[in-house]
Symmetry: C2
Subunit: 280 residues, 2 copies
Amino acid sequence: MNKIAIIGLGLIGGSLALSLRKAGFYVVGIARRGETVEKAKNSGAIDEGSCDIKDISDADFVFICTPISLIIPILKETTPYLKKGAIVSDVGSTKQEIVSQAEKLMPKGRYFVGGHPMTGKEKVKFEEAEDGLFKDKIWMLIKTSKTRTNAISRLENIILTTGAKILYLDPKKHDLVVAAISHMPLAVAVSLINTVESQTEKTLMLYCAASGFRDTTRIASGDPLLGVDMFMTNKKAVLRMIKAFKVSLATLEKLIKKEEIDAVKKELERAKTARDGSPS
Amino acid sequence: MNKIAIIGLGLIGGSLALSLRKAGFYVVGIARRGETVEKAKNSGAIDEGSCDIKDISDADFVFICTPISLIIPILKETTPYLKKGAIVSDVGSTKQEIVSQAEKLMPKGRYFVGGHPMTGKEKVKFEEAEDGLFKDKIWMLIKTSKTRTNAISRLENIILTTGAKILYLDPKKHDLVVAAISHMPLAVAVSLINTVESQTEKTLMLYCAASGFRDTTRIASGDPLLGVDMFMTNKKAVLRMIKAFKVSLATLEKLIKKEEIDAVKKELERAKTARDGSPS
């Protein structure tokens, strides 16, 4: 039976552990804090657990489920202990930097395939983990010129048991897509809240904010450190998308200013059509 | 017993009818289309209904629950038939223009008090109506130098039966608050979708969009005509808030560009604190 090690037992790592263990795999959980390992054990998410990275040494698959900025440092700690044929993946939301560094770091006969499940919650601790987190969600896997076909198909078989839908992308396209639908929207949501927070009437405004405002700004309640990582490791694509967004907003602003009612209506209709047509 | 007429039986008018009828009032529903009146009757939202505005003539309270652009035209049709002492209110999401015009239109002995319940859904037809729509939501009432204290307190008693919390604002402050937390965010959400919709990779991007993106852009799925009304009747405050938003986004953009990690983190933390601290 395949043995799977999961490093990092937060929302994503914890949910992956629960899901893979439910699918029948033997799951080893590694976390920095013993308390987290205990919680994961007690809730049945892992078969065994420890705080020692060496314990990945007999795993066939290793998932690094830490924040982006720790993925490469953790991978460096891991490589000396990887068994022959082991496949390592990650769940970071930017891929160009991580995949190119990771591929260089892998010892002979061990393989890295970058991954990114498109799911999440505002809270990212183990307590939020659930085995169904990946069901019907997109799990992006990154193909490069160095990716081994065999490693991809083995990894795919594991991931499919979570109920996720796999989508293959190259690292650059991945980062642009994610900048457009995740990182730039975070910058926008943060700016939206901070705009209100800068007003003299901020207390009244935040008191009055209804569900629409709360939806629009939900992603700004995520962990700030994760946001910083996203912006910094995907800077180029994020800035490109912010620039595109500014053009789009300036267009609408100008039309409102000039009271070009038909054109304003068209912008609203274009947005509604695109959103209503996208999968829910 | 107080007789209440509701003109316009969409999401808001229909929900108000259901809620007030449940509270024991006699509710007369007026809609443009006979089909809507029938639906409202069959679902028990109204005691009687018609397509004839004259049928408000023995109502103690008249709620105009039409889109913003129809409120004043409908009020003009209504005034000849208002009985002495009748109180008219509306539910439009901008108030300066509506309240100033409405106050001028009211015949002697009839009173107008502008209102705005802070609730809604993406879909705005009668089919979406529910009696609990206003429960625990803020219902703004507008006080001006012309507002009669007696009219306000009578209206308040009616509205409180819906479970809403009443908040008094002057028209200018109302429109600024709503521009900040509703109209400008709509412009932002629309621009966000349209940014993605303008990309070469739009199909892939929209396919990959996860719940975060869907939340951020939810309000852009609303009725485009309502959006146009909001922007046009609250133009000055909307433009002011868009300008403030652009400053906020440009600040974050610059910090990302310069990789000022601590300052980026502070912006994210400020947003999270403001959002987490506001009522859910």
